[in-house]
């Protein structure tokens, strides 16, 4: 039972509803909700699930993802006879009720062929975008992807020449190796100038912008001067760049434990890479100790 389920059980216990005793089998793409039996929303739910199924099938073609609606009755978990709850498939969704007063509804989306690259497109982030989850659910409006989402070789949201995800209502989401970016970063790369990129306050955004614009391109007209290079790539290289409109500034160019390179501004009076590294952590070269373990 994961953290989320534990928390949900705690909430339900407060409302007088027995906690779920067994973890749900599919942890990847699942939403849970509580509805009253005989609630007219159940019919609405069934209709919506059919729509989800049809929509996903048409959006993802031969992959035939299926939406399951599991309905666990209040007594279903304690009484084996009533544990026969279930459920729905792509083209025939049905919900059977026990005599409980509450039901616990899970929506699971799976692909028929596990490991299928098309199937992995149905990730949580796609579904989060396509099926806005809220307290009002199941009264959601389905906003399915128009095209298969685009990803990099690691499976992260990524597209070099367009949105990585386009939804039915025209909403476009832009990402670079898993990080959300501005549309113009892709369409108008020439506007990613050195002064803009190096002054971005968020380290991931700065790294991503440098990646998109290209470090060599950025420094084409403003070559960086290497001040000091440490043997340890995680301590990095101290460089000085003459930034238009700002002036000479110094940066540490370091290798992160995830294998990516970050450029971090340090004070202009920094003389060595290790001095810069110590400053990042509020230390001096005399007091700074390199971490024994980094991840």
């Amino acid at each position: 039972m994961d953290e989320r389920e534990k928390r949900q059980n705690e909430e339900w216990e407060r409302d007088g509803i027995p906690p779920r005793k067994h973890p749900a089998r599919n942890k990847t793409h699942r939403w849970a909700m509580r509805v009253l039996i005989n609630d007219p929303r159940i019919k609405k739910l069934r209709d919506e699930v059919n729509t989800v199924n049809e929509g996903l099938v048409s959006a993802f073609g031969r992959v035939y993802p299926r939406v399951y609606v599991d309905v666990l009755g209040r007594l279903g978990l304690d009484n084996p006879a009533s544990a026969k709850y279930y459920s729905g498939e792509r083209d025939r969704t049905r919900i059977q009720m026990s005599d409980a007063s509450y039901v616990d509804v899970h929506v699971r989306v799976v692909s028929e062929s596990a490991g299928d690259t098309q199937g992995t497109a149905l990730s949580r982030e796609v579904l989060d975008a396509a099926v806005p989850w809220s307290e009002d659910w199941p009264h959601f409006t389905l906003n399915l992807p128009k095209f298969l989402p685009k990803r990099d070789s690691d499976g992260a949201a990524h597209c070099e020449d367009g949105p990585w995800l386009t939804l039915a209502d025209g909403t476009e989401l832009w990402a670079w190796h898993g990080f959300e970016i501005e549309r113009w970063w892709i369409l108008e790369k020439h506007r990613l100038t050195l002064d803009y990129v190096l002054t971005l306050a968020n380290a991931e955004q700065r790294r991503t912008a440098i990646d998109i614009a290209g470090w060599v391109n950025l420094l084409k007209d403003h070559p960086a001067k290497v001040i000091d290079t440490d043997a340890d790539e995680e301590v990095g290289e101290l460089i000085e760049v003459n930034i238009p409109n700002i002036g000479r500034e110094r940066f540490l160019r370091v290798l992160c434990a995830t294998g990516r390179t970050f450029v971090i501004p340090v004070p202009p009076e920094t003389r060595t890479a290790i001095e810069g590294q110590a400053w990042l952590w509020g230390e001096t070269p005399a007091t700074f100790v390199k971490p024994e373990v980094t991840t």
């Binding site: 534990k6 990042l280 509020g282 971490p291 373990v293 980094t294 991840t295």
Partner: protein, 133 residues
């Protein structure tokens, strides 16, 4: 997964951990921080990729008032072995295991380019910012 066992200094992304000596006493000004949505978030991320402790027994304390350097105002008390996770699907920092003990948490900082051009009064407050990802 890497481990802090037998080690004093560790790091996950923009977070640095320093094991405190056994004689360390939590300052009286320290206050326990609550979990957020059930999670003990050790490091917040603007892009939603938080650094989170997996277990339920670890506690997080924050010093009231500024610490010595303004960067290390939190302590983590690990009662049972616990694991620090990075909530990201791709390019994720590897897990870091902590054995029981008290750890000081330091959030990295960076210089603000152009701060040198500011007037002396503004320089003091705007010369650096905490690292954000």
């Amino acid at each position: 997964m890497k481990s802090m066992r037998g080690k004093t200094y560790g790091r996950q992304g923009e977070l640095r951990f320093v094991r405190m000596p056994a004689s360390f006493q939590m300052p009286a000004s320290a206050r326990a921080l609550p979990r957020e949505g059930g999670k003990l978030i050790v490091g917040h991320s603007e892009t939603g990729h938080h650094h989170v402790m997996e277990g339920l027994d670890t506690e997080l304390y924050q010093l009231m008032g500024l610490s010595r350097d303004g960067l290390s105002d939190r302590f983590m008390v690990v009662k049972d072995p616990d694991v620090l996770l990075h909530e990201r699907d791709a390019h994720r920092h590897d897990k870091l295991e902590f054995d029981p003990g008290v750890y000081r948490i330091v959030v990295g900082r960076e210089y603000v380019p152009g701060a040198g051009k500011l007037g002396r009064e503004r320089q003091a407050e705007a010369q650096w910012r905490r690292s954000a990802d």
